[in-house]
Symmetry: D2
Subunit: 357 residues, 4 copies
Amino acid sequence: MSSIMGNKLKVSVFGQSHGEAVGVVVDGLPAGMKIDLEQLQAFLNRRAPGRTVLSTPRREEDKPRILSGLYEGYTCGAPLAAVIENGDIRSEDYVAMAALPRPSHADYSARMRYGDHYDPRGGGHFSGRLTAPLCIAGGIALQFLEKRGVFLGAHLQAVGTVWDRGYDSVNLTRQELHLPATRSLPVLEEEAGKAMEQEISKAAAQRDSVGGIVECGVIGLSAGIGDPMFDGIESRLASALFGIPAVRGVEFGTGFGAAGMRGSEHNDPYVLRDGKVRTATNHHGGVLGGITTGMPLIFRVAYKPTPSIGREQQTVNLDTMTQAPLCIQGRHDPCVALRAVPCVEAVAALVILDFLL
Amino acid sequence: MSSIMGNKLKVSVFGQSHGEAVGVVVDGLPAGMKIDLEQLQAFLNRRAPGRTVLSTPRREEDKPRILSGLYEGYTCGAPLAAVIENGDIRSEDYVAMAALPRPSHADYSARMRYGDHYDPRGGGHFSGRLTAPLCIAGGIALQFLEKRGVFLGAHLQAVGTVWDRGYDSVNLTRQELHLPATRSLPVLEEEAGKAMEQEISKAAAQRDSVGGIVECGVIGLSAGIGDPMFDGIESRLASALFGIPAVRGVEFGTGFGAAGMRGSEHNDPYVLRDGKVRTATNHHGGVLGGITTGMPLIFRVAYKPTPSIGREQQTVNLDTMTQAPLCIQGRHDPCVALRAVPCVEAVAALVILDFLL
Amino acid sequence: MSSIMGNKLKVSVFGQSHGEAVGVVVDGLPAGMKIDLEQLQAFLNRRAPGRTVLSTPRREEDKPRILSGLYEGYTCGAPLAAVIENGDIRSEDYVAMAALPRPSHADYSARMRYGDHYDPRGGGHFSGRLTAPLCIAGGIALQFLEKRGVFLGAHLQAVGTVWDRGYDSVNLTRQELHLPATRSLPVLEEEAGKAMEQEISKAAAQRDSVGGIVECGVIGLSAGIGDPMFDGIESRLASALFGIPAVRGVEFGTGFGAAGMRGSEHNDPYVLRDGKVRTATNHHGGVLGGITTGMPLIFRVAYKPTPSIGREQQTVNLDTMTQAPLCIQGRHDPCVALRAVPCVEAVAALVILDFLL
Amino acid sequence: MSSIMGNKLKVSVFGQSHGEAVGVVVDGLPAGMKIDLEQLQAFLNRRAPGRTVLSTPRREEDKPRILSGLYEGYTCGAPLAAVIENGDIRSEDYVAMAALPRPSHADYSARMRYGDHYDPRGGGHFSGRLTAPLCIAGGIALQFLEKRGVFLGAHLQAVGTVWDRGYDSVNLTRQELHLPATRSLPVLEEEAGKAMEQEISKAAAQRDSVGGIVECGVIGLSAGIGDPMFDGIESRLASALFGIPAVRGVEFGTGFGAAGMRGSEHNDPYVLRDGKVRTATNHHGGVLGGITTGMPLIFRVAYKPTPSIGREQQTVNLDTMTQAPLCIQGRHDPCVALRAVPCVEAVAALVILDFLL
């Protein structure tokens, strides 16, 4: 499998950071849906780099060319394939240091897996660049979800030690979901955004990087979606989310916080609201036994700090098998979590749509 | 899929808490391995209830009957099927309150998914009882792993606000891995165990329950195991672990902690140790880009507090659609994380073995 | 995968011919369907041996015990597991000749695959005995299909050189579909059945066996079911049908006959019948491009002659690596295709139901 | 799934006949293999049309552009993606008759499946054009197989009522396997090729088409490859082969012929040849119980006559729901089986390589 995910909706991602192109094939999209290509481009632009001082100056156009799957602007039932040509590539930065695995990148593990013919340029297939085609697929999935009355959004909940407030897990609205996408930093509280900008700038100034947490919410899902055990909402979402580079943890509802709680605190009482069964609180994050309860689906994704930093690091020269210092040049985001917000939305949208098909 | 997991090693779990039997089919075990049934039983006994005051007094024998897959004591290449008959069942406890979904159980979501013919007795297929057959499969997988020099263990790292120390993520030994299984509570530090016992007893005395965290470690994995993106070690482990009832979060290495760190702290420098490439620290938990690095694989699983508590709770009567109080009688563990330790080992063993086949 | 098939409906078959039991787990059956256990038993009896002089005298009760998946007689959404205990076993027949692979059985290939610990008794997991649990699953699937207005039947179309007429591929009725199940031999034309009986008896008298062809028809499928390319009706049916022991060929509609035809003969013109689009002929067997056309689905399955025959055969002693004569004792059907008719129905029902879910 | 096949080696095919491009993603190719692009092009040329009077004059260059998966000419472990731009398209031929489903094409079933937004131009995703990317993937797989000492070839065994001899199923050599690729028509006996040419020309002159049979052989497979039941060699090959447009039947070894035989004829005695276990005959086609025996793997694929013929046919106008005559203009092969020979090789190579990984 490796770079393929999904059951009824299969998503196959391909490309290397410095190869000819990156792309995606989405197999299983229902026919008859008009794809709004401008809306898709606007979504992709949220991920694209080069827009603020906080992200890598590498300018990727991220203009997808759709090769198949549409007919007269509508999905036609055939697999949808799209590619983005790679441009503005400076591979010499990477090839020079092919023998020097960068700490906390996949260089070493990939070389152990694939041997000498592994493509080292820019992380090859392990690059964050691969989230671009993922966002094409996810951006299209988001349009399908909206047609079905399902709305999904994400925000940067933490950068280092600076926190944004969380989504209102009981009364989450479409407005609150999409608020972060309208800000310069994708947060709920503008103050938090400013503090995060400072945190990121400070790390960058120190030739360092910083981690973060992305929170995602989904509303409009009826109760009863999902399957028990290994095919539950949590299993499939987690499996897909851990496929995004730099993700280190996934939690639903109160998540790790639940471990420190008493049952009497954590249990969500059932209540009637306008004749509907709801829960008074939502520690369960909208899913019990792998199946939705009809409450907002809430989960969080932990991102590690960007492993590429400007400071000298220690590594091992794999050719000579000697200790060696490493100075990473290149261009890098000081906080991968920042541009990861639409990636989390994309992956979540694909998984949720897969459940709904 | 739902109750089936795995690629080359497929595990299909079946049964309801108060049905005839629970069981498992494991498809893909290599032929020619002698299964030590006593060792398997000892493993199952670690999960079985009724052994301490801290767990439900329901006495399940958990004696599996192996129906297929062995020939003269050795795996023969055919699927291995095993069942445990259900006994000591008091279904009347549950049927009486079929219309009253228990907070934070799957009762409501399952009823929305399956309708009126859902089996409500003891949580049906959503019961923690289903981890018994999972442990049969996992206990067998552990024996295969040991033959390949791969050792795996888990311990209760937190109960409520009481913490055990973590595994030594750099120099983890087989001895440290298996130490918890020799204690009355599966912990590394005996003091922590005593404090946890008190925490659990206190919650039980207050007719309440408490959550916890299980940490798991794996040693003996060479570098280069796994696949990029959606078929990586983290994706497959997380997918399987979230299939265990009551799991709310999964993190690898430093996990959510990484979000608060700087890259210069979190990055693990490569060093030479006895001529081998290792990392000086192991914040990455033994896996980068979905692929093992050869360092100990470390991950943590968050368990919510047992949803069944003795206190009165609020729910909705689904027949009359009116608010209703609920008093759960039955018998329940005050801390599901306690008995979950071998379940985490079982699931991890199945996933890891699947990667190695 | 090996002994697991299906997408939304997963069927996992286990057991060895002379092991403790054979059984099946069916994951994905919709909840809320009352299973008619008498009808299921009647279906299983059509496969069971020991009923006529034409089949092996081994008496297998084939009384399934359902371990899970039902609640108060209805499917409850949990995986349905069923086992049949093995009885009347004479393993000594087989163990004595473990080193002598029987021609055209899987003994040799299985030993090369699984090594010395392969279970040689009665063909182990490769035995036709494994079609019993397959028929449990399929018999249940048939009940689901009938509720949806889909009817499926099969008949013995050829035994050696004796042929029954084929189903009426254009105007196939439920009556014609189920006619064969009411006869002593499952055929459409009684005369053909008598001639087949003679053919089988003659082969048996000569301590020989004979092959056959089973034709299957399905009505009630609307147009537009299936998917293009590798997930079409033909791909999934063929994949499952070749999983039945002794199957050597699968063809749809006119099948291999189409190769000898002109397009002007083979093409099926579209016509209006009662305001509906139909085809005047049905050489395409109800499926085009992997997707149903609404015409009866028609396919044929070729069975080889029973490989176990009473005559002396040549083989190689794998222990001594010398040429050796082989006399198979045991008890065998002279024509496996005869009892295979319900097996083809079972497998087809599982695949078709999987498409409809 | 639909247009994705494979287990460890996943192949995802995309494109519509008259869309922007057709292409393929191959996920799971081992790293470190140098791909001979000239050899690949030579393989693709065997499928490409416009080369003889016997095939459609549509000139497709079939020059693949490889977007990812290679690094310095070697596979690098990342998914290999390749596209062929579509050119020389005359869609007006098709759009004019979108309401008139062509007999024995997928037009009608696809429209029932996908509705009005189905792409009708040239059969859309159901076109034989999609075998071009399949041949890219298969041509690469063939190179991997050769490196492992596995050789595979196919020939046109029948066109209408004209037959070529079959492969020598016992002593099949690499030379015999590859002989057909050197002839103007891919046959073993030159005489048969000439007679087939006449058969095809005659059909074409009569504005008709003709069916055919492709036989495929594989040598170099050791005994013991494959899995029982639903994951056997036959199941996986048949599943993939039925994914090729126009395939109506698949048989292994003696196939349907076995149904007319006695066991004493059909059974293949084991014999020692040069100290190795072989069979004296090979009616089983190299596979027993889903697992290879080490004998040549032999199977046959039945192709229907090209459904597009120049004669007037009857169909139904789906817009007006009235009977309507249909005259197909366009350009078509009079015998699809002819160009299908490398397609069968491609699909078989992908399946076999998947088993070997």
